[in-house]
């Protein structure tokens, strides 16, 4: 599907720049040109498609859908809706309050809070572009399972007593309908959103792929297998810990880890790292402290963290 891009990359690198085909520099530049063009094309297409779907599902509508659901089915729906609903840690609190006041169970709300940042379109594009459809599908599938199960587990722990009392004082007062949208508005919204996201991430992608290309060209194959191969039990939890403070740079981190996988880091470890980068975010935890007790945040982070670690081990065992 991307064969013409490979031709373009080859022509630019070896034809226009006149770099020797077998050289390290040549292979690094070829890799960089191919990967960045592929990712930007994918970004434009996938973000446009996802934000068109999204224009039908504003957070307020998602809340309406979830408010009538109980556990289990609610957790599954919340996780699925989390995929297409945008999430910025700025909105974590209003989202949380809004869900609770509409009667969405806390466990279901947590499923949404896990899925929404973890499975987002930028991460998806990077995964498809750099790892292929299969790994992207595994990431989405296991991400959904983690979101559903974490929400159910947290729901069972009776989290109501660990939420600040004022959260429950609210009654649903006004329902914001949002502006009615015609197809033209939806296209305009999707186009604007796509441009916004690309503007926000392009630099990270260039840097990430640039460093990745350097690793690709200059670091020997399987160099990292000794430290982070599938037989190293500590690699997965370590990757998850490192991922927690790295929230905002998912666009730059994925090209990096893709290069590291090639040098011997096991696939499950890589998946766990990416999930931790997107789903566990330190700034989000700080913001959530306004509405819940630290104990609940610790429970939230541990349940999701354990889920991610198990996923890492599972795929280290399966994908050899």
């Amino acid at each position: 599907m991307f064969a013409p891009l490979q031709l373009l990359a080859d022509w630019l690198t070896y034809g226009l720049f006149r770099i020797a085909p077998q050289s390290l520099l040549g292979s690094a530049i070829d890799f960089f040109v191919f990967d960045t063009t592929k990712i930007f094309i994918l970004l434009a297409v996938i973000i446009f498609a996802v934000s068109t779907i999204r224009s039908f599902l504003p957070a307020e509508k998602v809340r309406m859908i979830l408010s009538r659901k109980r556990a289990y089915l609610g957790n599954i729906l919340a996780s699925l809706l989390g995929i297409v609903t945008p999430f910025c840690s700025c909105s974590a609190i209003p989202l949380f309050l809004g869900f609770v006041e509409a009667g969405v169970p806390l466990g279901v709300t947590f499923s949404f809070l896990v899925a929404s940042p973890m499975i987002n379109e930028v991460a998806l594009v990077m995964l498809v572009g750099l790892f292929g459809w299969q790994i992207a599908a595994i990431y989405i599938g296991s991400g959904l399972v983690i979101a559903v199960v974490s929400g159910i587990v947290i729901g069972k722990l009776k989290p109501e007593r660990l939420v600040e009392p004022f959260v429950f004082e609210h009654k649903l007062s006004a329902a914001y309908e949002g502006a009615k949208m015609a197809w033209r508005d939806r296209m305009q919204y999707a186009g604007g959103y796509t441009v916004d996201i690309i503007k926000r991430v392009w630099l990270y992608i260039l840097i990430g792929v640039g460093v990745g290309a350097w690793i690709h060209g200059y670091i020997p194959m399987d160099f990292l297998a000794r430290y982070a191969g599938p037989d190293k039990w500590y690699a997965v939890p370590l990757a998850v810990l490192i991922g927690i403070p790295l929230y905002s740079n998912a666009a730059g981190v994925i090209p990096l880890v893709s290069a590291l996988t090639e040098k011997g880091v096991a696939m499950g470890t890589t998946l766990a790292f990416m999930m931790s980068v997107t789903a566990l975010s330190l700034p989000e935890f700080m913001i959530l402290k306004k509405v819940m007790k630290t104990r609940l945040i610790v429970i939230f982070a541990s349940v999701v963290g354990v889920g991610i670690i198990l996923t890492g081990y599972l795929f280290n065992a399966i994908l050899k």
């Binding site: 957070a59 307020e60 809340r63 910025c88 840690s89 700025c90 909105s91 974590a92 609190i93 209003p94 989202l95 309050l97 809004g98 869900f99 006041e101 004022f166 609210h170 649903l172 007062s173 006004a174 329902a175 914001y176 949002g178 916004d196 503007k199 913001i287 306004k290």
Partner: protein, 80 residues
């Protein structure tokens, strides 16, 4: 007319606050822009996103827009 920017105090919310101040100044409206960090006010409007630009308590712009022109348009459209 009361122009407010409501947010959870995050950097993006502050950016919208600054953009709105700039827009109000360029439109020569002669009003102050208020910055509200009580998230409950957002929820009370029935919204679940942050930041919000509100005019007389009604949402004019939901979510961050990095464009003064759009902010101005939203203000003009919602002037009572």
């Amino acid at each position: 007319m009361i122009i407010q920017v409501l947010g959870s105090g995050c950097p993006t919310c502050e950016k919208l606050f600054n953009l709105t101040k700039q827009a109000v100044e360029e439109l020569k409206l002669g009003t102050e822009v208020e910055y509200v960090t009580d998230v409950r006010k957002i929820v009370a409007m029935g919204l679940m996103q942050s930041p919000v630009l509100a005019i007389d308590g009604k949402p004019a712009l939901v979510g961050f827009v990095p464009d003064v022109k759009k902010v101005k348009e939203a203000i003009i459209k919602n002037i009572p």
